[in-house]
Amino acid sequence: MRSETAAFERASAVREAAHGWRTAGMIDGPTEEAIGTEYPDPRIRPSPVWRVLTFLFVTVIVLGVFIALSLSAVHGLTGQAFICLLAGVALVATTELQEQAPSLARRGGAGATAFWAGAFLTAAAGLYFGEILRLRGETGFEITLAVSALLWGAASWRWGSAIFALFSSLSLFLLLARQPYGRLLWILLGALLAVLSARRLDERSWSPLHRETAAALLVVGLAVVYAATNFWSVETWSIERFRVDFTWTEPPRAALAAAMITTALMPVAVLAWGIRARRLFLADTGALVLIFSLVTLRHYVHIAPLWAILSVLGAVVLGLAIGLERWLSRGAGKERGGFTAEPLFSDETKARLLQAIPVAATLQPEAPPPSEKGFTPGGGSFGGGGASDRF
């Protein structure tokens, strides 16, 4: 990342925090302005709606031009690979130009061109190694995965994107899954990635975007280790199946026993780590893998019918949430152990309005089918308000 961009990102972190303090009523307008003067960031940063809109239309432009070039001036795979390479390089240059212009750097256009640069360069590598050189077996695909890991990794480092780091790590671990001892490599490199990333979470010399990337990679590392040690994954050889020469054998008993222990303990350990370190993204990761472990348990042990499990779990989760809020709110200063249920600096009004979106999207009732001649009532969707299933 350019040193100037890193400096702007640091200033931007302070300015955004000051805006949150003002929204929460902790500072007044003149103080926010004074902080803005002290930490200048000349870049124009529109709201997320503008950025998404810009991203979409830049994507349409990039794809339109690419398709036009592909259809008119290119014949054969070599030509396609060349056009992908050309488009990728041009988009890298375009991204760099935008990054240097304060009026363009954070509009959403640079993100779009950076994303398509990575996609086209990866596609160019895939076409070249897999289709043009026609490397033996799956070698072409594996080289493409390696190139993809390097490209997205470099893009992430240069432009400070956690999403590109996810693409890079996905390519890397897919490549490792296809190697001998892939599962062992997942565990070792996943753990290594987690340890290295965890050390950089508070690294002062890194820009906020790079620290976000470190947090994302820590989650990836933990997820990879969990995926490699989950009981179902070990029993079904889910990672080994990525190899072309995979043949099924009985999983070793010792591996299954170890997987049983890690499936049970790892979610608890990650959750405890997150709570102890007061890092919510870690606690959230722990909660998520806990859900996966419960699903794994349900897959093998049918202790009760599904409806009973869902109802009891739902009631427990609801009770836990209500109890947690009440417990925290009744602590001294409405906090306990460094945790609070108060919103701190988030815009609570907006959050309450935004709640309507997932509810309407997932819990809305099914629209009834049109009435036919001779139709008899009672065959429609049960559960107005989306509450439940059909009879």
């Binding site: 979409l56 339109g64 739902g314 989760v317 309005l353 819990l363 009732p365 439940s388």
Partner: protein, 323 residues
């Protein structure tokens, strides 16, 4: 921890820009010594409601014959009643303004109560056929109940459920991910979507003008625009004979939405208008290139038109920011 913030708070305090308090409190938060789990609690509440209602739905599906309709209806009613008792005990007094925040759990307990009542009503309808052939009317009843709850208890969640249930009564699905407006005949569903959209937008604007629950504006207008623009787009791409009229209507509505949103500084409405207008214009391009067998020319024109829209977006943002 946020190292920039920790350092900045110290510097700002030294320079006298940031007084203490709140500097030491802000420093605690920047160091990660105090964190808010509000988002996590909200996610847990949503998950709990989702799991519980799904579990109850499955239970009813499997055992409704064995337990008997009256017992099930009574049980659901009791459970919903318990939720409403909790809601009434924790609710703030009614106001046409924004009510004080009753806590993060409030909306979800209300939601659970409403969903249980909705299930109960639907179950009673299926078992006892109260509305007979007009059985979808139970959706209207649920929608009105949710609307009442939204106003009484100042809940955007209940309002969202009310609007989506009202649309479902008219055979329209607000879930854009499904890719279709609803399971009914396209022409009828399209008109219903447009009608619902107009009603929602009009009611939203009227309530804002009257100063009654004006903070619900975004829920009314966004749902309304989604249905109105979605219905018009469905006409543009689905009606083979009258697509030109649908396109003209879409262009007119989008222009009004874009202009009003631009004047009011409402970026989300502006974006919805721009995207709808652009998608509609693609139909015109498809028609123009129907007999021109040049994919590359078509792609270039699409890219060029997108560049034009992008220029409009950048210009509009600049002017909205300046004003």
């Amino acid at each position: 921890m946020q190292p920039e913030l920790v350092q900045a708070i110290g510097t700002l305090r030294e320079k006298g820009i940031l007084p203490d308090p709140p500097a030491s409190h802000l420093l605690r938060i920047a160091r990660g010594d105090l964190v808010s789990v509000r988002l996590e609690i909200r996610a847990l509440l949503y998950l709990g409601v989702l799991l519980l209602t799904t579990g109850i739905g499955l239970f009813l599906k499997l055992h409704h014959e064995r337990i008997g309709p009256s017992a099930i209806a009574a049980l659901l009613g009791l459970a919903a009643g318990a939720c409403f008792v909790w809601v009434v005990r924790h609710a703030a007094p009614f106001t046409w303004e924004r009510a004080p925040d009753p806590g993060v759990a409030f909306d979800y307990v209300l939601l659970l109560g409403l969903l249980l009542v909705a299930s109960d009503l639907a179950y009673v309808e299926v078992q006892f056929k109260v509305f007979g052939p007009d059985w979808p009317y139970h959706l209207l009843a649920v929608s009105l109940l949710c609307l009442g709850a939204a106003f009484r208890w100042d809940s955007a969640v209940a309002l969202g459920l009310s609007l989506s249930t009202f649309a479902a009564w008219r055979g329209v699905s607000v879930n854009v991910l499904k890719g279709a407006l609803g399971p009914g005949r396209p022409e009828e569903t399209r008109w219903n979507a447009v009608g619902c959209g107009i009603v929602f937008v009009a009611l939203g604007l009227a309530l804002v003008r009257a100063g009654k629950k004006a903070h619900f504006e975004e829920v009314w207008i966004n749902f309304g625009l989604l249905l109105l623009l979605g219905g018009l787009l469905s006409g543009v791409f689905g009606d083979r004979s009258l697509w030109g009229i649908w396109l003209a209507a879409l262009a007119a509505v989008s222009a009004v939405v874009i202009w009003r949103a631009y004047r009011a500084g409402k970026t989300l409405y502006f974006a919805e208008g721009v995207v709808a207008a652009y998608l509609g214009s693609l139909r015109l391009l498809f028609e123009a290139f129907r007999n021109v067998h040049s994919g590359s020319a078509f792609a270039l024109v699409v890219a060029g038109s997108a560049a034009g829209v992008l220029a409009l977006i950048v210009g509009a943002h600049r002017r909205m920011k300046a004003s």
